[in-house]
Every structure is written in C-alpha cells, then in structure tokens.
C-alpha cells in the first residue's frame, strides 16, 4: 500500500518479481488446484511400456501422451461442474500363490482426499484359459465380495466394470482362480510382458462443496 512501484495498488498486494518467491507461489497454486497437500513421492516406477499400452487401450488413436491432454470429451450432468479426473492404477501382482494370481490396486487415496471415484473398469490381459476361471473381488477379511466367471478359451484383454460399492474399499484386492487347472499360477493365466500389466481405469470427480440437503 502506498507503493509507487509497478504492481497493483488497488489490490494492496505487491506483485512478486520472478524468482524463488514466485516459484514457490507457482508450486503452491498447482498443488492446491490438484487438491494435494504436498508433492507425491513416486516410489514405484511403472514401466513405460505398461503406461503406453494402457493409454493406447483407453484412448485408441491417441497413442501419444500429448494427445491425451485435451479437455474431457464429455462430462454430463452434475459432474460437468466439478473437476474431473481419469485415473489409471496398475496392479501389484503376486503370482507365487498356488491357487492363482492375486492383484492389488491402491485406489483409495487417489488422487486426493476430496475426490471420489464414480466409475471404474478393470482391464486384465489373460492367456486363453483351458478351464473355468473365476475372478473374485476380495474384502478386507479375505472373503469374496463378488465373483465373476470368465469364458474359457478367450484370451487377450478382458474388461470388467467394477460395482460402485467396491470403489470405496481401502484397496482393491482381486484373485484369479482356475478350477481344474493343473498349474493355476499367475504365469499361466496372465499374459506375460511388461506392456501387459493389469490395470484399473477409473473416473473420479471432486466432491461438491457446501452443505447438502438431506432427505429423511
């Protein structure tokens, strides 16, 4: 206030000059708008081939990462007013079990606390099973919450829409079980290769702010 320097006297806040202060403001602004309290520390590196493969499947014809950076094509209804997110979560796969491979997805904290998943789809690269294979969604206590039978003989990428009730689980734990297989381990059920990694593609949106009117 009262300054004659270049700035905005009407606002009463001097404009920071380019330098460390402005950079800190830039970082803070970006984190705030992403609903993050601090920058994420990436501890698990996802193979680039897996990322490219997943994005190619989700956005055919726009294989390059840059091509994905347009605005969302369609967010209808109330979601159109909220900030939307697309999330791709890759599985941590345990193939050491004797019953079949188990997949773990950490979707509970993505991408921030004020964001909720509204739609999620599982993508599984399967070898053509010769016997009956089921996909089970496991609860925190180890019991199966949902079971789905896969068609024998159908190899390649399979997609499954996850029921909304499963979105809020602390983590998504899936188990593939082969009934009648001599060796139902992961190496024989899941397609091999770094580009063929199971993933969950989800759409999320920021929770609406302000008070809600409840109806009893």
């Amino acid at each position: 206030p009262g300054s004659t320097a270049v700035g905005c006297p009407g606002c009463g806040v001097p404009t920071p000059a380019p330098g460390p202060t402005l950079l800190e403001l830039a970082k803070r602004q970006l984190l705030d708008r992403l609903h993050l309290s601090e920058r994420p520390n990436v501890t698990r590196a996802v193979p680039r081939a897996a990322v490219a493969s997943a994005l190619r499947r989700l956005h055919p014809g726009r294989a390059r990462l840059q091509g994905l950076l347009g605005p969302f094509a369609a967010w209808d209804g109330p979601a159109a007013e909220a900030q939307g997110y697309e999330i791709v979560s890759f599985a941590e796969t345990d193939t050491t079990g004797t019953l079949g491979p188990e997949l773990q997805f950490e979707l509970s904290q993505v991408p921030a606390r004020d964001v909720e998943i509204v739609e999620a789809q599982l993508w599984l690269p399967l070898r053509a099973p010769s016997a009956n294979v089921t996909l089970q969604v496991m609860g925190p206590d180890g019991a199966a919450l949902s079971t789905r039978r896969l068609v024998a003989g159908m190899g390649g990428w399979h997609t499954f829409t996850l029921p909304p009730g499963l979105h809020g689980l602390p983590s998504l734990h899936l188990a593939l079980r082969c009934h009648g297989c001599l060796h139902p381990d992961g190496t024989r059920l899941l397609s091999p290769g770094p580009a063929r990694r199971p993933f969950v593609a989800a759409r999320a949106q920021a929770r609406a702010r302000g008070h809600r009117v409840g109806k009893r």
Partner: protein, 114 residues
C-alpha cells in the same frame, strides 16, 4: 489485452514459464513439461477502470474517463485477469497411479482493469 514490454507501466499480461524439470517436479508430472504462470501487473489509471481488455475503443475510454471523474477519490482500479483457460495435467499420485485432470481457470490469458 496488452502483453508486458520491458518499459510497460500500464496493466499488462506478464509471461512467466515454470519448467517442471527446473524445479525437480518432472519425476511426478508426466505432461506437460511446464506451465505458463502468467500474471497481471501494472497500473490502472482511473480512466481505464472497468474496461477489461484495456480501453478497447476510444468511446469506452471516454465513457470511463467521465465515470472516473465522477467517482474520483473513491479508490483505485485493479489490474486483474479477465480471461483464463484450463490446464490439463497428467501425473503420478502418491500410489504411483497415473492421473489426468483438467484444472479449470488455471492459466491467465488476458488482463484488464477492474
């Protein structure tokens, strides 16, 4: 909307590019490689108050001058963003998931006097 020149005094748009590699954020932000932290800077004489786009026409400048004269002493106008656009970001979150989002109204594209 004016873009700032080295000798700009009036309200203008100042370009400022933040390179994510330079600040060490390229490990979690996949795309873009940086973003335009543009901001508005400069003075707003009273006769251009209320003309986003900085006195777009002679007539609006005259009208605002009249208005400014009638409310002289009431306060100062502010150099503020008048147009923004969203920024699409592709990044890794805490769980190493890939997230894409459009941050609305993130990049300042034009400035004007309030």
């Amino acid at each position: 909307s004016l873009r700032c020149a080295p000798d700009s005094a009036l309200c203008c748009l100042q370009d400022y590019y933040v390179d994510f590699r330079a600040i060490g954020w390229h490990d979690w932000i996949i795309k873009p490689e940086g973003y335009q932290l543009n901001y508005c800077v400069g003075q707003c004489p009273l006769h251009v108050a209320g003309s986003p786009g900085m006195a777009a026409s002679f007539h609006s400048a005259v009208l605002n001058l009249v208005k400014a004269n009638s409310i002289a002493g009431a306060g100062h106008a502010c150099c503020v963003p008048t147009h923004r656009r969203p920024l699409s970001v592709l990044y890794f979150d805490r769980g190493s998931n890939i997230v894409k989002t459009d941050i609305p109204d993130m990049i300042v594209e034009a400035c004007g006097c309030s």
